[in-house]
């Protein structure tokens, strides 16, 4: 392909368009102005463009004027490039990062209430220990367990616990932050 400054022309057959679907999960981290209606604008954009959000977490940042919205979506279904470009058009969206999986620390918290009769209580408590989970509430028939970790870890815990009778589950959706460079 011709380099700038040379007279070498560009062969049309060498031109490639960027792929639109990446096929993996993406975590987008949005810095937005902390103003009324911002979340509605983002949610509205997703629904009218037909983008489906898998998880969404909103919270304050170190700057009181700025909130962080962390959302995950499936790059096998949605052209992430188009999603971020549309989000950028919202005037209140200051910055968007498509988090690189290997340079990102992502965590989610989940609460599970599980059937825990005498005969399986011990086994559930063992699972909790393996997953570094905390038992935060106990009743005669159930345990409430708090798990923190990657979305995959929480999925695994859910799979382990489900056969025992999952009564209720609440997940926060992932929040993420990029890793510092080792020398920083």
């Amino acid at each position: 392909m011709g380099e700038p400054g040379t007279s070498e022309l560009v062969k049309l057959e060498d031109l490639e368009a960027s792929r639109t679907l990446t096929g993996r999960k993406h975590i987008l981290s949005l810095m937005v102005e902390n103003k009324p209606g911002v979340l509605a604008r983002i949610a509205g954009l997703f629904s009218r463009r037909g983008f489906n959000i898998d998880t969404l977490a909103v919270g304050p940042t170190e700057d009181p004027n700025i909130s962080r919205i962390t959302l995950t979506l499936d790059g096998a279904v949605h052209p992430i490039d188009q999603v971020t470009k549309q989000l950028h058009k919202l005037v209140n969206v200051i910055k968007i990062r498509d988090m690189e999986p290997d340079q990102t620390v992502a965590r989610e918290m989940a609460l599970f209430r599980v059937n825990a009769a005498v005969e399986n209580r011990q086994e559930i408590m063992q699972f909790a220990e393996i997953f570094d989970a905390k038992i935060v509430d106990v009743s005669r028939r159930s345990l409430t367990i708090e798990v923190t970790g990657t979305a995959d870890k929480i999925d695994s815990f859910e799979n382990m616990i489900r056969p025992h009778g999952l009564i209720e589950m609440a997940r926060t959706g992932e929040v993420a932050i990029s890793k510092a460079r080792p020398d920083n």
């Binding site: 400054g5 070498e8 031109l15 188009q82 470009k85 969206v93």
Partner: protein
Amino acid sequence: MRAADAVFEALKAEGVNHVFGIPGGANLPVYDALHDAELDHIQVRHEQGAGHAAEGYAKATGKVGVAFATSGPGATNLVTPIADAMMDSVPTVFITGQVRTDLIGTDGFQEADVTGITMPIVKHSFLVTDPRQIPEYIHAAFHIASTGRPGPVLVDIPQDLVRADVDYEPPTGTPDLPGYKPPLEGNIKQIRLAAKALANARRPVIYGGGGIIHANASEEFREFCTADNFPVTLTLMGLGAFPAPHEQWLGMLGMHGTRTANYAMDEADLIVAVGARFDDRITGKLSEFAPRAKFVHIDVDPAEIGKNVPAHIPIVGDAKDVLAKLNREYRALKADSSRLDDWWKRIREWQTTYPLRYEDTNDSEIKPQFMIEAMYEATGGDAIIASDVGQHQMWAAQYYHFSKPRRWLNSGGLGTMGFGLPAAIGAKVGCPDETVVALCGDGSLIMTAQEMATAAHHDIPVKIFLMNNGHFGMVRQWQELFWDGRYTAVEMGPSPNWPKLAEAFGWKGFQCTDKTELRDAMAATLEADGPALLDVHVTKDENCFPMIPAGNAARDMVG
């Protein structure tokens, strides 16, 4: 001063001379301040008219168009023009009254959540929560509406806040919008790449859209297109960006474009899109659109690039800047024009075989295409034409050869019937020395006919050329071609006596039913003092051809 007075100070600071609107309860304080403001207010008869007039004003002048409405129904009546301005990227600011802050959320009288309702159809919106925000928000609204890809911005002001006292200080400089940085300059490496690809292209087509006109880049576009013997086509929104007729001009492309333009896209090896968005009316069946082509896509809105069609060389930037650079880079390559000879041979064959044509009559009957040709002659091809939506719009796009930008005002993206008359009023207010013609269909005109009162009231001498075929003609055509001729709700029945209706509004009214009298009738209408309507009875069942049936490929054009 009162915040309401600050509204007008802020508008004055933005250089606003004209606003279109209607008063009501919630914007009474604003209208009270208008009493003393040095600014022309055009009192329309329906808020939709205010919005389209603001659009017509903006499209004709390039300045931001402004419309006022009160809360509730006043504001909801603006929804159609706001959506229209969004689809066609028209720089507009809408200032609506809102109920008092203590009533917001209580379903108060004439309350509507207009910032909520319009959220998907504005470039941005502001709900004022403190009167001191008013000058800042208006300043930001104009900046957002007019920069980058232009569009509508809404400022909603509660009635109690606009009565408050504020210290007005004119906002200066670029507003503080940390999330809004429209791109300006195109990446020079990408531009060079595009120039080199073009120099190697054997079958290139330049495909321009309305973005060229918004960027005031028609001159740069023409320079670039004539840097070599490039074939040029334009979208409906782009007409006028390249001077038609011209040797390199293929005609409009898309659903009712020329066969030549659509076949050229189909066989092109490189398509350079400038300020155009590959809308479905252009591409037809997406999977079969321009199957042999690589794409250079130039747009100020990065989200348009790669949205519908993959871009091999994306260039984000203002068309004026990018085209000037691309022109320079391309000319420096001194490409051999003769490589395009075979391509032009092919194109000339299409032009000879498939010219735009219609069967004219031998009697007095007026064919609609003939009417457009007569209109072109009567106006010297130099009028501002504000069109409604339908067959007449497509025939005008085909047979009125627009040679300059900002002469063709129409609703392309949203396809809003009733756009023509109020847009013409807005254009005439903005360009009082130009001839402004509203080209209307009888189905469209009646949707906003009340604005004839506005033109009479404010002495705005627009002309209406009414293409009267007694039908919703385009719908009738689709029912004939694609719904087995099962005509449903397309006949206009006992339509009004249009010349008399015009006269009732204080206009001059004319009628023409005979081809031989059409030119004289058009001249009389154009020469009449004040606003005038010419009711032209045309063939009732003429179809607009050629056409790519919706969802088909360019190769499958019919008619």
